[in-house]
């Protein structure tokens, strides 16, 4: 085996040191929150803070019993799943048509999908809020779903188009000559290739809606429909912040997102790159 030169080893150690520092910086706030969520009330407000203390599930129990975390989880899952399913279905149709059909108005349509990026979402929310409140659509489940969709459609379409580009059209032509129907082409050739892409954009869409709170904050009254992220926002802004319970809710809020990310890490990251620089 060839020995590495001392200089190379130093550089290698330096790189590792930088990455360890960066990782500590990335994890510190969240790990500290996680530790706090398991501390009994009496140990949270101590200075200097204790890293190790007795563990308790009190904060989590309180989050479910007093803060209605269970109810909020149900509505968050409902909103996120509904919006993601509808969004991905529409996005897949559009991406397929854009990459396979040459129809009048195709360029217009593909541009139409990208241009909304010009206007910050917050700007559009002003008139939408005015219309929604006049129509009595605040606190409305499907009203919210409709507001989430524009946030996930363009990105999903761009990423899916990229996946579809990977299927050469000649493959489809060959299948057609062999007597495959369009439906067979769709299910036998196209779907297997784009399924990873569909899963990736679905997961990214789900995570985005799960984490969203500004639209939900503006378009709900706080009394009815509430997501976990929004209830967390209300708790953080309350007069008396109960740090233990808020940390517990924060961790319940993170877990699904973290699990999804760790399971689909590769597709997640690749789709993100596709959406940003390849589109």
């Amino acid at each position: 085996m060839r020995r590495k030169s001392p200089k190379k080893m130093m550089v290698g150690a330096g790189k590792q040191a930088v990455m360890v520092l960066v990782s500590l910086f990335m994890l510190l706030p969240l790990v500290w929150g996680l530790i706090t969520s398991f501390k009994p009330q009496s140990k949270i407000f101590l200075y200097p803070p204790q890293i190790f203390s007795e563990l308790t599930l009190d904060n989590y129990i309180q989050a479910f019993q007093r803060e209605g975390l269970g109810r909020h989880l149900v509505s968050t899952v409902g909103l996120a799943v509904t919006s993601t399913v509808i969004g991905i279905l529409f996005a897949t149709f559009a991406a397929y048509i854009f990459s396979r059909y040459n129809f009048r108005g195709r360029t217009f349509c593909t541009t139409f999908v990208v241009l909304p990026m010009l206007i910050p979402g917050l700007v559009n929310l002003i008139p939408l809020f005015s219309v929604y409140s006049k129509m009595g659509l605040l606190d409305n489940f499907f009203g919210l779903v409709l507001l989430y969709l524009p946030g996930i459609l363009p990105f999903s379409i761009m990423v899916l188009q990229n996946y579809l580009r990977a299927v050469p059209f000649t493959l489809e032509e060959a299948a057609m000559i062999d007597g495959c129907s369009r439906w067979q082409i769709l299910t036998k050739i196209i779907l297997p290739v784009i399924i990873p892409g569909v899963i990736a954009v679905a997961m990214i869409g789900f995570v985005n809606i799960w984490n969203e709170f500004i639209i939900t904050l503006i378009f709900t009254s706080g009394r009815g429909l509430r997501t976990v992220t929004l209830s967390l926002f209300y708790m953080v802004n309350a007069n008396n912040v109960n740090y233990g319970v808020v940390c517990a809710v924060a961790f319940v809020n993170i877990i699904p997102v973290l699990v999804i990310f760790l399971l689909f890490r590769k597709q997640f990251i690749n789709s993100m790159i596709d959406g940003a620089i390849k589109g």
Partner: protein, 293 residues
């Protein structure tokens, strides 16, 4: 490509839902915002009254507006510079295929996937004036770290720190993708020809990598221009409006004070800023793709 010579409605039918949704929720609102910005709401009846440029004139005389514009500039520029510098360092290290790359990559992404509320809250707890962990960490060095969030001169720096923490993964991963466009054969050839590390970086890697670098800078700027969630949770725009960016000012006017017409005028400034950077992004993105192909 399928050509639709026959009159088939299929493509139109399948594309229609997306087009209709985007039309209603992304296109139609903007002209209405524009319309609101030249109107005023009458106090009692709530009717709209045309007032021409009045909202804009008032805005230009308003110190709060200029301050928030300045804050936006400061926030966007400093955050972008820090994120890009750190992002390039991280991307270069990850590109050299060190041990543990996939673990580092996962850790890097954890802040990026959590909600702005969780991110803002966890940092707020670290910065807690009395019981914050940062106090305990930095006290030996003589810094009262936890006061930083409530001090007007440091609050913006804290917001920038948290934004960098949250967005670093996004920039680093795009920059890494840019670095991976540089083929190893090319670098090997340069080495054989006697190039040293610096020379091959500046002469070979950088020219291939720079279009992606530009695109990443622009995407970061676009993100930061309308960033409002983190600020809303971490500082709420305070202390003394020092962290009130244009996006937060707009949010306050529209959804806390319910002055929709005034907020519409502010949102025009935000929109112009955003349109300007997004147009450069569209152009740069097109160029960078042409270069790769």
């Amino acid at each position: 490509m399928f050509h639709t010579k026959k009159k088939t409605r299929l493509p139109y039918l399948l594309v229609a839902p997306v087009i209709i949704l985007l039309f209603l929720f992304s296109y139609l609102p903007f002209p209405y915002t524009l319309y609101l910005s030249v109107n005023e709401t009458k106090p009692i009846t709530g009717e709209l009254q045309f007032v021409g440029w009045n909202n804009f004139k008032r805005l230009l005389k308003n110190g709060d507006f200029w301050e928030s514009l300045g804050n936006t500039g400061y926030y966007v520029i400093v955050t972008t510079v820090v994120v890009i510098v750190l992002g390039v360092i991280v991307a270069l290290i990850l590109n050299s295929k060190i041990k543990g790359t996939s673990v580092y990559m996962s850790i890097l992404f954890v802040p990026w996937i959590v909600s702005d509320v969780v991110a803002g809250f966890c940092w707020k707890w670290l910065f807690h004036p009395d019981f914050g962990l940062l106090n305990a960490i930095f006290e030996p060095v003589g810094i009262r770290a936890s006061n930083l969030l409530t001090k007007p001169q440091y609050a913006m720096l804290c917001l920038i720190l948290v934004t960098v923490w949250k967005q670093l993964a996004y920039s680093a991963i795009l920059l890494l993708a840019g670095l991976q466009n540089v083929s190893n054969d090319l670098l090997e050839a340069a080495k054989l020809d006697g190039c040293n590390g610096w020379q091959s970086f500046w002469r070979i890697t950088f020219p291939i990598f720079s279009p992606i670098l530009l695109v990443t800078v622009l995407l970061d700027m676009i993100n930061f221009i309308s960033q409002s969630g983190l600020g809303l949770v971490l500082t709420g725009g305070g202390p003394l409006r020092k962290t009130t960016t244009l996006a937060l000012y707009l949010y306050d006017e529209a959804f806390d004070n319910f002055k929709l017409t005034n907020a519409s005028a502010i949102s025009m400034a935000l929109a112009v800023l955003n349109i300007f950077v997004v147009c450069i992004y569209f152009y740069a993105n097109k160029k960078s793709r042409e270069k790769v192909e």
